[in-house]
């Protein structure tokens, strides 16, 4: 059976302008509907991979295709519409503290010119999914870290993207809260979105037994279905 690759790295390299070789010969395919952990210690190259997938960076060499588009040859003006098909989640939540939870999520829809009558329904649906419907009017600073990350998740999924990319979403959270966030990502995955999560949270990776792609020093050291954080410890 021919499955469509959502993401495909072929002999991809990334060398930063200062000469740092962040990625060396990376090869992997991620199919539609997968849940993938991207693991590796700090400075391994996880964020670089994620930035290439979201086309914040382009590979220096090799080929990267995401959602059927070639990253290196994508035109600047096509990038915004390309990004509307993915939801990005960051370690630091990136919420706007001067407005309510509702407004934070509505903002993401407004700036891509979603018709106003659809905004309310979509925002409430997303808040419902992350279990924060009753906090719509609250400002981010009044929420716990876990709740803030759930808001940022709601913002990422509000436009129903087919791909969710989370860069260390549990990096600032305690283990229990981290579990909540990952469970939410699993729900989102079950509803059809492909999920990639960069992390160095060993416990979570080991417990979930999902696909693991491991990077160390810019080199891919492992790609395993139903993997754990480390083979031998």
């Amino acid at each position: 059976m021919q499955v469509t690759a959502i993401i495909q790295f072929e002999n991809a390299f990334k060398i930063y302008p200062n000469g740092a070789e962040a990625l060396k010969n990376i090869n992997f395919r991620i199919e539609k509907g997968e849940f993938v952990f991207l693991v590796g210690s700090s400075g391994a190259g996880k964020t670089t991979i994620i930035k290439i997938i979201s086309r914040e960076l382009v590979p220096s060499k090799g080929k990267v295709k995401v959602l059927g588009k070639d990253i290196a040859s994508m035109k600047r003006r096509d990038v915004p519409h390309f990004r509307r098909n993915m939801g990005l989640v960051f370690q630091d939540y990136r919420l706007l503290n001067d407005r309510s939870i509702y407004e934070n999520i509505a903002f993401a829809l407004r700036v891509i010119e979603t018709p106003e009558r659809e905004i309310k329904r979509k925002v409430m649906e997303a808040l419902d999914l992350v279990g924060l419907k009753n906090k719509a009017k609250v400002k981010p600073v009044e929420l716990s870290g876990g709740e803030q990350q759930r808001v940022s998740l709601a913002r990422a999924i509000v436009n129903k993207p087919s791909l969710i990319i989370a860069d260390e979403p549990t990096g600032n959270l305690d283990p229990d809260t981290s579990t909540d966030i990952v469970n939410l990502l699993r729900v989102i995955n079950l509803r059809g979105a492909t999920v990639i999560m960069a992390t160095h949270d060993k416990e979570i990776v080991d417990r979930l037994r999902k696909r693991v792609i491991e990077i160390e020093g810019g080199i891919m050291t492992r790609d395993e279905l139903k993997g754990v954080y480390r083979h031998e410890t």
Binding site: S54, R77, P80, R83, L88, L96, A108, V111, I112, E116
Partner: protein, 297 residues
Amino acid sequence: MRPRTCIYFIGEAFKSIYRNGWMSLASIGVVVITLFLLGSFMLLNHNLNFLSEDIKSQIEVIAFVDESVTRSELNDLRVEIINMSEAQEVKYVSQEEAFKRLKDQLGEQGYLLEGYEDGENNPLRSSFEVKSQVPEDVSNLARQMKMLPGIDRVEYGSEVVDRLFTVTSIINWVGLAFMTALGISAMFLIANTIKLAVFSRRQEIMIMKAVGATDWFIRWPFVIEGLMLGLIGSLLPLVGLYVSYQYVVEWVYLNIPFLPMVPPSLVLNQLVKTLSLLGIGLGILGSSFSLRKFLRV
């Protein structure tokens, strides 16, 4: 662009102006000063042109006739002047007539002239007053008449006009230099305000990029912010000059009736257009300068 989006952009622009209050105020202030100066110069120039046209339309060359010229020579002179292509109207003013005019002008002080009436004692000369076809020909006409035998001296009003123009052009150059310097500082202040606005919104910009807002969607509020700063800055000089010019014209009309002023209806439309367009131009230039430099979207 949807009207909703447009309203959103304008709202964002105003929020930003409010948030960077002091910088916005400084930008607007310099725009106000620049455009106030510019507007005043515009009005001054209009009036100086108007005045010189007025002077020119009245001017004529006065050629004073030498005492030794006889009556028949006088007639030859007259014919010669009439035959000049530039001359339109020639009027001979005799010594006696000149004396009478002067006496009329002096009015009550006319007694000062007592004893000078008679031919021998009359200090005034007879003259030809010549109007030219076009004002620009006056100096040419004057030169030709000066060369005629029997003409002692030639006077004409263009000298006044020429001097007026020299003074105006100096004022204009100095003013232009001033306004250019001010305009540039206004632009840089606006650019700096926009830079601050971009920095204070970097989180929003980052999120907009992440969720797929287009470059122009991100830029528009800042362009509009610059435009608004310029436009608001043009409003004050606009209203100020509009009102005060009407007041000045009225005052001059009542107090210096012989000084011609350009009627407000003829200049104010142009003033409004020029100042608001310049304000908007300064604003857009300032913000695009900053966007190119600080907003790599």
